[in-house]
């Protein structure tokens, strides 16, 4: 499949539409952690469900903690989508 990379804008969309942050609350700084954004463990589950449902990535339990920052989440999705056999 031909896909555009998963970007900060896509992640922002999820954080606004599924978690309820305002657009202004989503920083450009990619090293910001989700915890710093005020997401609790259930919000992080919701975020990961959205990545699985809407972007088709697989997030097995052992990888659930692999995306602590915005950058890690973006990288995880792109890594999965473009080399899914590796994970």
């Amino acid at each position: 499949m031909t896909e555009a990379p998963f970007t900060h804008d896509h992640l922002k969309h999820i954080l606004v539409e599924r978690i309820g942050l305002s657009e202004a609350e989503v920083p450009d700084e990619l090293n910001t952690t989700f915890t710093e954004l005020g997401l609790d463990s259930l919000a992080i589950v919701e975020l990961q469900l959205s990545l699985q449902q809407d972007y088709g990535v697989s997030i097995p339990d052992e990888n659930a903690h692999a995306m602590g920052t915005l950058r890690e989440a973006i990288d995880y999705v792109n890594y999965q989508r473009f080399s899914p056999e590796v994970v």
Binding site: G20, L21, S22
Partner: protein
């Protein structure tokens, strides 16, 4: 007679009222509408009801959750919890009570719910069946269940005392207040209590229609309690959250208004059948008698009765029978009203809203009417307050509530003196 109550106990009073109702948001707006006989019952507008057997309901128009809670919390919760959070904030504001100033463990949350987060649950069930289990959102786990509103109120206001949810359908609003009173007896100072319900959606309405008790009349006058033309009840959404406090702590902190005391309570169960009415009103009558006994008052001391008023002839007849049995000759003398004829039955939210009516009736000297009961059942033997509010000096009120499946509850409220600084009676009773 079983007596388990201690000789002297703490006293539970109500100091704050928060209302989200089909005929008004906020206690003032709702009370103005209610005493003016203004109904909130309309054709359902939140979805197309044309293919449903019941098409009229009491919807809370103009309720904007974002006026009360932030967007993140909205994503995690159902409309029912939005209304509960809004009403709880109103009750706290009304009482001038700032939770942050108090010991978290001295504050409890005990609300009623009879159907949980209906709308949220429907959306997630539709995702489950149309897209699969992986498409159900994580917040379904905390949004649908009956304790969600209690939990969110507790989290938001930092209230960590013993908390819970009561599930007894339409009786829940009284049962939660009674449980709140028990918490006060056991040493808690403050309880956010009462109930709300948000059952006006396709899935929730379908569940209710299965009882065969809803009116199918396409008219704002469909709900006619104690009327010859009773056609069943109209469902509605909303309710009331009230602040229950120990009298001591309310006075210590200088609560601006002590509306009244929860003086007595009784609850029974028909134990007869999952849905058929009982053969007689003995258990409902017993709930009333237990409440009067708990309050240590005689029937003639009652100044008003807020009845359950199901709007079904068999249930209405049973309630009239129970009032005659429990109150004797006084059943014909005491004014009876069913303001829920203006809102529809709010299930777990209905009885606490009736308690709000009773408290404001005491304070303002006005009994709100039962509307559309133009042809009262001739042999009910009751003095129904019809069409217009009635001026009355209301000192003591009885509120009756029934829950589908056989729940019967009765609560007695007594007005507090406006000036409570020199009232020896407050200390001695």
């Amino acid at each position: 007679m079983i007596t388990t109550l201690p000789e002297r106990r703490r006293r539970a009073v109500i100091t704050g009222i928060g209302v989200v109702a089909p005929n008004g948001i906020g206690a003032d707006a709702w009370w103005s509408a209610t005493t003016a006989g203004m109904s909130g019952i309309r054709r359902i507008s939140r979805f197309d009801p044309s293919r449903y057997a019941t098409r009229f309901a009491g919807e809370v128009e103009g309720f904007e959750a974002r006026d009360y809670i932030d967007r993140r919390l909205m994503m995690q919760t159902d409309r029912w919890t939005w209304m509960g959070l809004a009403a709880a904030s109103m009750a706290l504001d009304d009482a001038g009570f700032r939770p942050a100033d108090h010991d978290p463990y001295s504050m409890s949350v005990i609300t009623a719910s009879s159907s949980g987060g209906n709308e949220f649950g429907q959306v997630e069930i539709q995702k489950l069946w149309s897209k699969g289990a992986n498409h159900v959102g994580a917040y379904q786990s905390i949004a649908w269940f009956y304790a969600a509103t209690t939990g969110q109120i507790s989290i938001r206001h930092g209230m960590k005392g013993a908390s819970g949810v009561v599930v007894t359908e339409g009786a829940g609003g009284l049962d939660a207040l009674a449980q709140g009173r028990r918490a006060v007896f056991r040493g808690v100072d403050t309880v956010v209590s009462g109930g709300v319900e948000a059952p006006i959606g396709p899935y929730a309405l379908t569940c209710q229609m299965a009882t065969g008790r809803l009116s199918s009349v396409d008219d704002e006058t469909a709900y006619r309690p104690f009327d010859e033309r009773a056609s069943g009840y109209v469902p509605g959404e909303g309710g009331a959250i009230l602040l229950v406090e120990s009298l001591d702590s309310a006075r210590r902190r200088g609560a601006p208004t002590i509306y009244g005391e929860i003086l007595g309570y009784g609850a029974t169960h028909d134990g007869h059948h999952p849905w058929a009415p009982p053969p007689n009103a003995s258990q409902l009558a017993r709930a009333i008698t237990l409440a009067l006994r708990d309050a240590q008052i005689d029937p003639e001391e009652l100044d008003v009765v807020f009845a359950d008023g199901a709007g079904c002839r068999d249930w209405d007849d049973l309630e009239a029978q129970a009032l005659r049995a429990a109150l004797g000759d006084n059943a014909a003398a005491v004014p009876v009203s069913v303001p829920k004829s203006m809102t529809g039955r709010l299930y777990a939210g209905g009885a606490s809203l009736d308690v709000a009516s009773a408290l404001l009736a005491m304070r303002r000297g006005l009994i709100p009417p039962t509307i559309h009961a133009d042809r009262p059942v001739a042999n009910s033997g009751l003095d129904i307050v019809r069409d217009e509010s009635r001026t009355a000096d209301v000192r003591t009120a009885l509120v009756i509530a029934r829950g589908y499946g056989g729940f019967n509850s009765a609560l007695v409220l007594r007005r507090m003196p406006t000036d409570n600084t020199n009232d020896a009676d407050l200390e001695s009773r």
